[in-house]
């Protein structure tokens, strides 16, 4: 194995490394979960997280949501409405219009339901890496509900990401050019022989595989678009390469793509792109930013070597993700001090990690989703096909207050009048975070408890000055720990700028 990818020495994997692993490969965990992971040792801990198919999880039923809300009109319906238009039968036209509006309303309710369902899944899943990668793919192959207005297609795509979360990038790319939501979002349903539409071909190279301007030309986009003609869907399914419609729409002529010549179709196009070295490096770099370090600009020389060597491994394994992720999570580089507690949490991470690690009540999923939106991450409504930029783009003077305030909401269930979040009376008792003191709350030394809570939440040894004001506060409040005081202390800790990092 390349030197830059060398493994962390197993004796260096203890509690804090396990916490780092759980934060980055998932959404953090409670002190006892972290301890359990630490006890497994590096090798087993990483395998446990990556080989998650060994962990039982309720399968997702395709019937969880209604697939028919936005179904296409039947032939008879189309006939009726055409006739009504021709004869000027306004009442019928209006009836169809109203019916469509009703269905759009129902579909908007369903997309809200799907978003809540996914959010709950992230909070409850026993396979955190699966959801973390599902979120990654959602940001990578970004597709937004607004432009497609079909919630079931968003659900199908979400399931595609979930099934292939740590599978094979090559397989996933072949699947994405067959995915109804993606096809609709990037207009490939309008890409036909006589009138090619370049949208999907362009983004496939620019955003999904090669990176902007890397190794391809405008002409490759044009030719790639021709290869993708006919890749469309009917109702909820890809039409298939044997269908009559595909044969009508597809341009079977000779194409030149990235200097290769042939009568390529969309799948050949994908194979040609994926054979480029730059593709493996582009994806590796993106995953590196997601899992290891999100500093703006180029990584340091050590990080650059790491990306180049990991990309090589990625190519060798034919884009299999499991060996890739295992190498990454076991590497010494991943646990370098510069890479620990140094990444800005995306809004979903902030929320899910808070609930999972502190075990606060979930309060209201709708409130959490709308808070994530205020913080810049409206899931299933990405700002553009580029997905979310991540890193420093999450943070500004307004989002920082939302980040602090939503934690106050999770901890207390209270909210200011102006937020439309549902007030929740459930009391949160954080005592369990101090279980390892093995003493009743009132007997635990205030300073020691606070030190531990700061360390646990910020993942690092706090500066003395940063603890002093918390201890002062607890002493002023009576000097004896109670669940209420713990909640207040946590409200302060989670308001520290350091809390925004993991």
């Amino acid at each position: 194995m390349a030197k830059s990818l060398r493994q962390l020495s197993p004796d260096k994997f203890d509690y804090w490394q396990a916490q780092h692993l759980l934060n980055r490969a998932g959404f953090g965990g409670t002190p006892s979960q972290v301890r359990a992971l630490a006890n497994m040792g590096l090798e087993k801990a990483v395998d446990y997280i990556v080989d998650y198919d060994q962990i039982d999880d309720e399968p997702v039923d395709a019937e969880t949501f209604d697939s028919d809300i936005m179904r296409p009109r039947t032939l008879d319906e189309n006939k009726e409405i055409r006739a009504a238009r021709q004869s000027g039968d306004e009442a019928t036209v209006q009836r169809y219009r109203l019916e469509r509006m009703k269905r759009q309303g129902a579909d908007r309710r369903q997309i809200a339901e799907i978003r809540r369902w996914w959010f709950r899944k992230m909070i409850e899943t026993p396979r955190p890496l699966q959801e973390k990668m599902t979120l990654f793919w959602h940001g990578h192959f970004a597709t937004g509900y607004r432009n497609i207005e079909d919630s079931y297609h968003m659900f199908i795509q979400n399931q595609l990401f979930r099934h292939n979360a740590v599978g094979n990038f090559r397989r996933l790319t072949h699947a994405i050019i067959r995915d109804p939501a993606m096809i609709r979002y990037l207009d490939n349903n309008q890409n036909r022989r006589a009138k090619p539409n370049e949208n999907l071909a362009r983004e496939l190279m620019e955003l999904f595989t090669l990176g902007e301007g890397n190794d391809y030309t405008e002409n490759d986009i044009k030719e790639g678009a021709r290869a993708l003609t006919g890749y469309t869907y009917n109702d909820d399914r890809f039409i298939g390469l044997q269908s009559r419609r595909y044969k009508q729409m597809h341009d079977d002529g000779r194409k030149v793509i990235l200097r290769q010549i042939g009568n390529f179709n969309g799948d050949d196009f994908v194979e040609i792109i994926l054979s480029r070295k730059v593709c493996s490096e582009f994806i590796t770099w993106k995953l590196y930013r997601y899992f290891v370090n999100d500093m703006p600009g180029e990584p340091n020389p050590q990080g650059q070597d790491f990306v180049v060597d990991l990309a090589k491994l990625f190519r060798k394994s034919k884009y299999e993700l499991k060996p890739f992720l295992k190498t990454l999570f076991k590497s010494e580089h991943f646990y370098e001090p510069d890479n620990v507690c140094s990444q800005i949490k995306n809004p979903v991470q902030l929320l899910v990690q808070a609930v999972r690690s502190l075990q606060t009540p979930t309060r209201s999923l709708q409130a959490l989703l709308s808070a994530a939106d205020l913080m810049g991450q409206n899931i299933m409504f990405p700002p553009s096909v580029k997905g979310w930029e991540g890193g420093r783009a999450w943070i500004n003077t307004a989002t920082i207050f939302v980040r602090q305030n939503v934690l106050v909401y999770l901890l207390t269930g209270q909210r200011p009048d102006v937020y439309p979040w549902q007030v929740d009376g459930t009391k949160y008792d954080p005592s369990h975070l101090l279980d390892h003191f093995e003493a009743p709350l009132r007997d635990i030394n205030v300073k020691e408890a606070i030190k531990y809570l700061v360390w646990f939440n910020l993942g690092r040894k706090p500066h003395e000055k940063r603890i002093a004001s918390l201890v002062d506060y607890a002493n002023k409040r009576g000097g004896i720990l109670t669940p209420e005081i713990l909640v207040e202390i946590l409200a302060l800790i989670t308001a520290m700028p350091e809390y925004q990092l993991c």
Binding site: M101, N147, P383, R392, Q404, N405, V408, R466, L492
Partner: protein, 433 residues
């Protein structure tokens, strides 16, 4: 002289005096206390605004969400086709009435065009020569979905995808570094229009949310909260790291929060009505008065999707819109900022010419836009769209909205419009140059 001199301690001044917001510099410790304290001790009477300098020009966008009915806002009372198409909901000609429905306010009698009777607030500005209406604004191949059409307006792209036009304006003029609080949206969510690759908007619904709310839970938390954001901050921290960045931004947030809440807490120079749009514009007015560095503000009034029972609902919205922009302009005038601020109102589409069976109107296409400020070419601009030459029951547009954006960008914000919009459009003549 502008009335805002007592608190005009602006970022611009910071720069002049060698200070700046902490997030803009990498070695911060020295700046921390000074910038935090500095804002509480305004530096004398230095003015923030120098009228006429592009740097001080402000754009306020008012979004009328849901599809405002252009035909019942700017009323073609001289045209019988209008009354034929809308027997139940048409606005009568000036001086007439139809039951409780009053007649339109006269704008141009020779063309037979008037204004919704509840738009008196806007009419007053129009009569004073500081407001205009651009008629028949739209775009080719109109989309009748709220979402998509709104996104088309926001991105200025027919694909409805990509960054927002205001975001792209900043990206193209900010030399690669975002301007802190360069753009502020009042509301629950950030409009796509404000999203740039580099520049992101600051969004808050009310100035009261622009602060930490933990102290509402337990008031004693106030003191330690202040401490954790200031003491020991950036000690032993690499200023270029994510941590350094976060600590500086958190500090800026404290400064901005104090500043904005103080600004908004001041009694405005005029009375604003109590409606939601007025509340938003009041906040914007306060921030402008305070001399903030913000170039673009964004406010939203929703509820224009009047498919049923339109008459009353639309009348209420017209009243809100007219009264609110009237108060806002008068506020700016008292501040001495009326020549610095261009206000622009739009909706994602107009509504169909024919009313529907529920006393409402369905999604349509072209509609008017509204402009307020001393720099606008006042009056009724462009032609009212034809009521006989329709596109399957919908009005045809005369002006592409991107021609309007081009004018706003070039003639007002002095920005390279073609670069921002990715294409060269004809420039609508709406700004006095």
């Amino acid at each position: 002289m502008p009335d805002n001199h007592d608190s005009a301690y602006t970022r611009r001044l910071f720069l002049k005096q060698g200070m700046t917001l902490a997030s803009m510099v990498s070695t911060a410790p020295l700046f921390i206390q000074r910038s935090a304290l500095g804002l509480m001790h305004p530096a004398g009477s230095m003015l923030s605004s120098q009228p006429g300098i592009p740097d001080d020009r402000i754009l306020v966008v008012v979004q009328l969400g849901g599809g405002n009915d252009g035909l019942n806002t700017v009323v073609p009372y001289g045209n019988n086709l209008y009354y034929n198409a809308r027997p139940g909901i048409a606005i009568p000609a000036p001086g007439r009435s139809n039951g409780p429905q009053q007649g339109a306010l006269k704008l141009d009698d020779s063309q037979g065009i008037g204004l919704h009777p509840n738009m008196a607030g806007f009419k007053e500005l129009y009569d004073d020569g500081v407001a205009s209406i651009v008629q028949g604004v739209g775009y080719p191949n109109p989309n009748r979905s709220h979402f998509t059409s709104m996104d088309i307006w926001h991105t200025a792209e027919h694909s409805a995808k990509g960054y927002g036009w205001i975001g792209k304006y900043f990206d193209n003029t900010c030399n690669g570094t975002p301007i802190p609080e360069g753009s502020i949206a009042i509301g629950r969510t950030s409009p796509l229009a404000m999203q740039g690759g580099i520049q992101k908007p600051v969004t808050f619904e009310s100035e009261e949310l622009f602060r930490w709310l933990g102290e509402d839970v337990q008031s004693d938390l106030d003191k330690p909260y202040t401490e954790i954001n200031r003491s020991g901050v950036l000690e032993d921290v690499n200023p270029d790291s994510q941590m350094g960045f976060l600590m500086r931004t958190a500090l800026d947030a404290q400064v901005s929060s104090e500043r904005i809440r103080k600004a908004v807490a001041r009694t405005p120079l005029v009375n604003y009505p109590g409606n939601n749009l007025a509340k938003q514009l009041r906040i914007v007015g306060a921030m402008i008065r305070d001399g903030m560095n913000t170039r673009v503000y964004y406010v939203t009034l929703g509820g224009f999707d009047t498919h049923a029972g339109q008459a009353q609902r639309h009348a209420r919205l017209m009243l809100q819109f007219g009264q609110s922009v009237n108060a806002f302009y008068k506020d700016l005038k008292k501040q001495g900022n009326n020549s610095r601020v261009l206000t622009m109102a739009f909706s994602e589409f107009g509504r169909r010419v024919k009313q529907n069976a529920s006393g409402g109107t369905d999604h349509g296409t072209a509609a008017p836009m509204y402009f307020i400020g001393d720099m606008v070419r006042p009056g009724l601009l462009g032609n009212h769209p034809s009521l006989s030459d329709l596109d399957s029951g919908d009005l045809k547009w005369n002006v592409d909205f991107r021609e309007i954006y081009t004018a706003v960008l070039e003639d007002w914000l002095k920005a390279p419009a073609a670069k921002v919009l990715g294409k060269k459009y004809r420039k609508a003549k709406i700004i006095k140059v």
